[in-house]
Point group: C2
Chain length 750, copies 2
């Protein structure tokens, strides 16, 4: 098993690999430190020479550094052709597998072509290495990892399982590969898998050790099979042994003084579940993973598993390892340079600096790279360079890069080249900084909140919700509605509508306010709206708000003002986004709050219709106004009750979901809706983004959709205020009439 | 004026300079690119060699970089002994000046001793330069700036003024130096000042040009006199010509294609007023200054000038230059690595990335360095290295460092060494990351808010207050009080106290609530409190609040509950931090809101006393409870009215100002206060920080001060709730009695 020669020839021409003599010269072209004697010593000694005659003037120029001149050390690179031996024994109809042996070869060729690896004669090599030791990458000799090393993080049974692959028949291996290709296992095996996996792990070990002991400035291990999905007792996700944790453990053991704390930064597009689980309680290994999470649906999430998948941001480590596990799990694919740079600037670098590691290991999958179809993200080579450059500011520059996933040969090669050049001292290339996706910005803020208990630098601007609740605080939305209620009561004499308790959430009691004697009115405006918008500039440290610097913006007020001035009766329905009344909590279906809320909104609207509006016999025209998500209430009313003949018009302001109004029972409903509505949709709404979508929302069921010239509900309501007034008055038969009831103005204004 | 030889000997032995032949060899030791022919070409050509036989397999390895292998270029350094010629002509009793000629010499010697500058024989130099071009810094030849170059940013009269210094007599120069040593001018001059200033500016120009045209990877100009205070038409602050702006302008002119946008990062501890003003409307020069501002009191602030000083964060540029001026002006001295790293991570690097400059120039004063008494900050060499390293990720690594201020010879030399080593490719050293000062964190948040209109990356988490006001929003504190009022009214039947309008702010009307028939009560609790605390987790993008995720924490409610359960009458006085009722704005004294507010609080308390409490004849015991800053109300009542005999006890909760209660008229007041009060002071209050302060607050006038075991008003009120109950009941003569009035419980609960 040991001492395989480098010119072993692969048996797998079928896999599209080109194993030529030239391929070997890539490896031979490395600068190998072992052929130079004492070169390192002489390079480090440059600053020992002092000028004695100057001692008088100069008191003390103690070096502020613990490491002398790492810049004069070369960058290391570890590669071995034998890692291509791991190949798929399943030569079935679709033998190609993304984790192809040619991945590492392609990367090495790219490094060579870019001039990072020497490719002249051996005689020239010797000369160049002596004269200019940092000009090319230095070769770090690969080796097999030992069983003992593997078992620092894996169960002996797992080692044996991998070892046994080499004794299986081709048929057995094919069968196994076919079986494991599906689901979460996602793995193929071959007769030389064990061989390659040992060298991959051994290469990671040697790479990290060389960085720690200062033979090289930093280093890149171009290795496969990858490791980060491999669990303590299980191979999965193209991974056999978990290379990076093995290397970390070995370094901690071999260099207890100089390598105690290790940061493992995993930018593979998949979550490194294996690394997380191996160090979940370890205070000295900080694992940070940036990956696509997709609410647990993205690999290696467990969609068919009731447990929360490993990659969620709430997994912060446990026991002594609390705070030493950081998951930056994107809500979706499609992330790019802006998101990754923000993750680094806002989270990785502040926490990395606070942790102050002795060594940084990058679990460097390149499947988030632009061009990788599996990852479907858009990280550019320039961005990989910038991330590498930032990490090089930690641990005195001791950075070891270990390849993980990444499947588009060009994408991984260009990305790896950018990383290698940066390691060698090339300034990161310029990069246009794209706008960051709002959802990604929110995710980063949530990660900050999750990590705030453990990291000083994350603590600013985070509210401890549990602590607030202990002090018996009120939720602001209840406070705001209470104030709104008092205004409606003081200003217009409006009163709460009685809501029968056993049918609907108690919280709704405060949410429906009506003008007095509404049953005597001929014309009514029913406004169903979201709670007022709130904006505040919180204290950057603890997010406390100075209430004089916080704003409550209520776009509905002017409409009520106007309606009352025009002698309409008014029904004001505030629909909170969540129900938080303690008595109502039993009504919740766990994990399905929104559905419960929708049912309640439907119930509320029908209840108000059945018990009040329908039986108000004087009322012969009703205008419905929907604002924000609450306009769902109008949709459900139109669909669930036959109200068309009583409704004179519908006005909606929409910044979120556009909701179709149609009915299987009443085929005329959509047409009626189209003829009797004005649906103002925010200027930046997604439906205007492409012609297909725009055509779609122009269908009858969406009503008469109008693109607003502004964004935001309050701005839209201001912008279209006059338009709406005019439209309603034109449709009203009683525009100029007084109230139908016998109350006087004085009665109404209490 | 031109072609001064390098071995000019200074006339100023008195200034502590050691001008030896050895000092010259520092300069001679430089590696000078001009003695190598074609070396740059050959270094850049390495990647042009392709392997033809591999073309088939490899499609396209286009370089993702616009610059090839900058890592193989050396770091440049520009220095010239003639810049020491600028010396003080005033040889008076105190001739030493911090901007001493030996500053640059000391830095150069340090670089040499650290091995960054070659110091062997010329023959060796040639060999080393050929073989290993990045091993040492390469010399950039200094030169005189031309009059035309100087006048790109200075008025011709100013050029002439400096030029004329060389024709003045020593006596004239001494006189001028003495005159200008004071105040904002802060300058000395000598007969060779013009000479040195021309070379300083010329060196800055050559340094930047070499970086732009790729002769060097990056470079350090060790120059003096400094430049960043020099204005268009005026020398000031040790500065004659403004070196960096001159260099920037010349580069923009000479390299219009490759050097259009320049970032000038000024980390001198003083604000670079000259640079700011020269480019205030220039969209292509982004000036970022990190400096001590101290509310405008720190140099070059203008304390005797009614104008806002230049260094305030509100100066964002104007016209086309809007957003291209960023002042990070610390509120005080004493800043260190934590604050500077945070400024870089949160502001400098995100904006730098978004600006994407063609060149970065660092105006590198080292007077914020640990050890510099003038600056009194604590930036370590390691932190300078990290800041340099971060900036090296911009502009494809094109960074030119130009010395500005910095006066402790050791501090500036160690700092400059750290910067130079980083430029040469040394990884920044490890650094413990200190906690950031709360005030500094707030300042950074404010800078973000100021810059949000101009930079996408600053836009998250910022509220546009003006826009909110346009939409007729209510301030949240009014909304919250309205809700509070309704709760007090619904739950306890409390009613607003009538406040006479012509005496006091109208806003107070809603702020005072009393239980009914208070005039019939025997015992009263008067609670004067700050508005409830608010905490929210705002949306990271626009700081909108989801009101169900915001909490209003009202520590007072439980005290009112209890007081009413124990049959006390209750007066609840809410003291807003600011008065925002529109009708009250005319009562404001501009710039003196707090004083006006204090006067109003005094007025309110005396009004309530005179018109209500004093005339309630049944009341024979009153307990006062003060919460937060509002406890000022209790202080002013005790001092301004003789109430001792009517007050049975005072309980205060203090997290801010501790207020003494004493009176020149009533000498017994402080003693009475001590005997009849419990003043709970937050655990982290400054008064516990040192024994002197603690002793001070134990004096009678501060009452019976008790250190709380917790922080925050709400937590304190919870913590000491039982203690306070017991204390009040022990002091109450009517503890077990019913209300004095004839109303029944039913009457009270309306």
């Amino acid at each position: 098993m040991e001492d395989h020669d480098n010119d072993v020839v692969m048996d797998g021409q079928e896999h599209g690999m080109a194993m030529t003599a030239d391929g070997m010269s890539i490896v031979n072209g490395f600068m190998d430190p072992s052929i130079l004697d004492g070169s390192l010593e002489s390079r480090n000694g440059e600053s020992d020479v002092g000028d004695d005659e100057e001692e008088d003037n100069i008191k003390a120029y103690a070096y502020p550094y613990d490491v002398l001149s790492r810049r004069t050390l070369p960058t290391g690179c570890c590669y071995d052709d034998r890692m291509k031996l791991h190949a798929n024994a399943d030569f079935g109809p679709n033998p190609h597998h993304p984790e192809d042996p040619s991945r590492i070869e392609h990367i090495m060729k790219t490094l060579k072509r870019a001039g990072l690896v020497f490719h002249g004669s051996d005689a020239d090599l010797l000369r160049v290495m002596k004269e200019s030791p940092t000009k090319y990458m230095w070769r770090i000799q690969a080796r097999h990892a030992t069983q003992e090393e593997i078992q620092t993080v894996h169960h002996p049974n797992h080692f044996k399982w991998v070892e046994d692959l080499s004794t299986m028949t081709t048929e057995q291996l094919r069968h196994l590969s076919t079986m494991m290709d599906q689901g979460r296992d996602s793995l193929y095996v071959g007769s030389l898998t064990h061989e390659a996996a040992l060298i991959s792990a051994g290469s990671a070990i040697e790479t990290c050790k060389h960085v720690i002991n200062g033979t090289v400035k930093n280093a890149f291990a171009v290795i496969r099979p990858p490791g980060h999905h491999a669990e303590y007792d299980q191979a999965m996700g193209f991974c056999l042994f978990n290379n990076v944790p093995i290397a970390a453990k070995v370094c901690q053991t071999d260099f207890p003084e100089t390598c105690r704390k290790i940061l493992i930064l995993d930018w593979d597009v998949h979550h490194g579940n294996g690394i997380q689980n191996m160090f979940y309680t370890d205070p000295n290994i900080l694992y940070i993973s940036i990956h696509v999470y997709k609410n647990g649906e993205f690999y290696p999430g467990k969609p068919d598993n009731p447990m929360v998948p490993d990659g969620g941001i709430e997994h912060c480590g446990s026991g002594l390892g609390l705070g030493k596990n950081i998951n930056i799990g994107w809500h979706d694919q499609g992330m790019g340079d802006g998101e990754y740079m923000a993750a680094f600037q806002k989270i990785v670098m502040p926490i990395g600096g606070e942790f102050d590691p002795d060594l940084v290991i990058i679990s460097a999958g390149f499947d988030a790279a632009d061009g990788d179809e599996l990852g479907a993200c858009f990280v550019s080579p320039a961005c990989y360079a910038h991330m590498t450059h930032m990490l090089m500011s930690l641990a005195g520059g001791k950075v070891a890069v270990c390849l993980e996933g990444g499947y588009n040969l060009e994408a991984i090669s260009n990305s790896a080249l950018a990383v290698a050049r940066t390691l060698m001292g090339e300034p990161p290339p310029r990069m246009a900084m794209p706008k960051i996706m709002p959802e990604a910005a929110r995710l980063l803020a949530k990660v900050k909140a999750c990590q705030a208990p453990y990291w000083e630098c994350m603590r600013h601007g985070v509210v401890d919700v549990q602590e607030k609740q202990i002090h018996g605080s009120s939720r602001l939305h209840d406070v705001v509605r209470l104030a709104q209620k008092q205004i409606l009561s003081d200003k217009y004499g409006m009163i709460p509508l009685y809501i029968q308790r056993d049918v609907l959430f108690k919280s709704f009691e405060n949410q429906v306010m009506v003008t007095r004697n509404t049953h005597m009115d001929k014309k009514l405006v029913v406004i169903v709206h979201d709670p007022p918008e709130l904006h505040a500039q919180p204290d950057p440290l603890d997010n406390s708000l100075q209430p004089h610097n916080a704003w409550v913006t209520d776009g509905v007020a002017q409409y009520i003002d106007w309606a009352i001035s025009k002698k309409f009766g008014v029904v004001d329905i505030n629909v909170p986004q969540y129900i938080t009344h303690p008595e109502d909590t039993d009504a919740f279906i766990p994990g399905n709050d929104e559905r419960a809320m929708q049912n309640q909104v439907m119930g509320l609207m029908c209840y108000i219709w059945d018990n009040y509006l329908q039986v108000y016999e004087h009322v012969d025209e009703i205008f419905l106004v929907g604002v924000g998500n609450a306009y769902l209430g109008i949709k459900v009313l139109l669909i669930n009750r036959d109200v068309k003949s009583r409704i004179s018009g519908v006005v909606n302001f929409v910044s979120g979901n556009l909701r179709p109004v149609r009915s299987d029972v009443d085929e005329g409903l959509s047409g009626w809706y189209k003829d009797n509505s004005r649906v103002f949709v925010a200027k930046d709404h997604a439906c205007w983004a492409n012609p297909d979508l725009t055509r779609k929302v122009m269908r009858r069921r969406f009503g008469t959709v109008i693109r607003s010239s502004v964004n935001g509900l309050t701005s839209m309501m201001s912008e279209h205020f006059e338009d709406v007034q005019q439209w309603i008055l034109e449709r009203s038969r009683h525009a100029d009439e007084e109230h139908g009831g016998d109350t006087t103005e004085e009665d109404r204004m209490v």
